[in-house]
Amino acid sequence: MSVIEFRNVSRWYGNVVAVNDITMDIGPGVTGLLGPNGAGKSTILHMIAGFLEPSKGTLTVDGDRTWKNPEIYRRLGLVPERDSVYAFLTGAEFVTATARLHKLADPGGAARRAIELTEMSGAQDRKISTYSKGMRQRIKVAAALVHDPEILLLDEPFNGMDPRQRLHMMDLLARLGDEGRSILFSSHILEEVERLSGTIQVMVAGRLAASGDFRAIRRLMTSRPHVFRVKTSDDRRLAAALVGRDYTHAVELTSKGLQVRTSDFGAFCAQIAVITRDENIRLTELLPTDESLESVFGYLIAN
């Protein structure tokens, strides 16, 4: 059972702060590191993996610092985001070579087990250059798992995967988490994190915006006010109809149409068509204006 501990960790590049005063613990199970692009997720993962030095604070795995400490890789596996692997090797050669670099007693056996775990046995004798994106991702996971690490770090592991490959990878990570390993993966897609992890760490602009049980954070996210822009044949009449609804926070008439703030995303979306039909109004545009992750996370920070 391994624990990753951040204590007031910051990392900056020149004048740019990538990670700002993070304190958190990551323990066994699957933890999602969620945040928009550029939020500092990769920086966090690279620091845990010993490929970046914290500018300030302490970062340890079971009490050991990771920076300039290659011994940490006996307990830790890393699946980097970049798709670069030794494409001229076969999958089996790549994983076996990794096992040898870990000086495992039976590199061939360890490689076979890791390849079976990632269900890559059928393609293990093909060169990696012939693999699809999803297969490359899985062979990278096999290499990261070959020494049976307690901690597995994955940087955007679902990028480029088709839905079936995503499901397979999610099942695999869930299984590894259930075995008591500490699995930390980054993603900028809410649904990926939702399906896989009970615990999330939400990063926004280098800061830890939210931390803990996913369901509680998700409730916060869904109960926030949503803003829609609506264009109709009669904006003023629709505004009057919406004001009477309990899910409507505010309605504003603008030159670009109606701007509606609602506290219930689902109810608004379900009712808007009904209201326009009943009022005999033609709906020409319905556009959520604040659905970017940045705005969702911005709301989380503010609350």
Binding site: N37, F51, L52, P70, Y73, L78, P80, Y86, T98
Partner: protein, 239 residues
């Protein structure tokens, strides 16, 4: 120190690429030129040391070493695959020593061996052939250490290496005597000249100086490269 797994991957990465054909090109030119000169001027005694010494040590050896030395590790750093190597408990010094060994062997194969072959083709120059071969082997090691270091220091290692070879060694070391102290080509020529003294080789350093400096540059380069690799950092994502 030497890691056979890393060596195997490096050999396949280095010699498996199409650009490996480039390694053989200068060697083919040297041997072809020697064959032409031997056919056209079979009795002349001045050209072997000039051609094999000048072309061999100013062009063939440094350029071959540059392409190979900056590629054995630099290519993996550039494309990011080095992470798979470094995310293991292998000592960083072992990585550097292994990369250096492969670069030296490959450079010797594509530069020192062709020097030997060309020397043996040249008329009555067997001793010179051996001298140039030994000098080129020494040069292969020193250049490899320097270029492996350059590849972990900067992503522009090839440009840096070209400037060193063309400006420092090709121009300045021939104009300013003191510059030769930091010229790997002159270490190689110093060793070759000690085995087969020949003024037309243009050796600017004695054997002892050449060997001492060769060892200092090689060991120092490898040490610095290992230290640098210990602090290898992946780019993050500034917010």
């Amino acid at each position: 120190m030497f890691n056979p797994t890393i060596a195997g991957i490096t050999v396949r990465a280095t010699l498996g690429r199409r650009r490996a054909l480039l390694f053989a090109l200068p060697a083919v030119i040297l041997i072809g030129l020697t064959l032409v000169l031997r056919a056209s001027r079979p009795d002349a005694s001045d050209w072997p040391s000039q051609v094999l010494g000048d072309f061999g040590f100013s062009v063939l050896l440094p350029l071959t070493a540059l392409i190979i030395g900056t590629g054995v590790l630099g290519a993996e750093i550039d494309d990011g695959s080095v992470v798979h190597l470094l995310a293991t408990p292998v000592r960083r010094a072992d990585v550097i020593v292994t990369k250096f060994a492969v670069a030296t062997a490959a450079t010797a194969l594509f530069a020192a061996v062709p020097e030997l072959i060309a020397g043996l083709i040249a008329p009555n120059e067997a001793r010179l052939a051996v001298a140039l071969f030994v000098g080129a082997v020494v040069g292969s090691a020193v250049y490899s250490a320097a270029f492996v270091l350059a590849s972990v220091l900067t992503t522009r290692a090839i440009a840096l290496g070209l400037i060193y070879v063309a400006v420092w060694e090709g121009l300045l070391s021939n104009l300013v005597g003191g510059v030769r102290i930091l010229s790997i080509a002159h270490y190689s020529l110093g060793v070759a000249n000690a085995i087969d003294p020949d003024k037309s080789l243009g050796a600017g350093l004695g054997l002892t100086t050449s060997l001492v400096l060769a060892v200092v540059v090689t060991v120092g380069g490898l040490y610095l490269a290992a230290r640098r690799l210990e602090t290898f950092a992946l780019a993050g994502d500034p917010a």
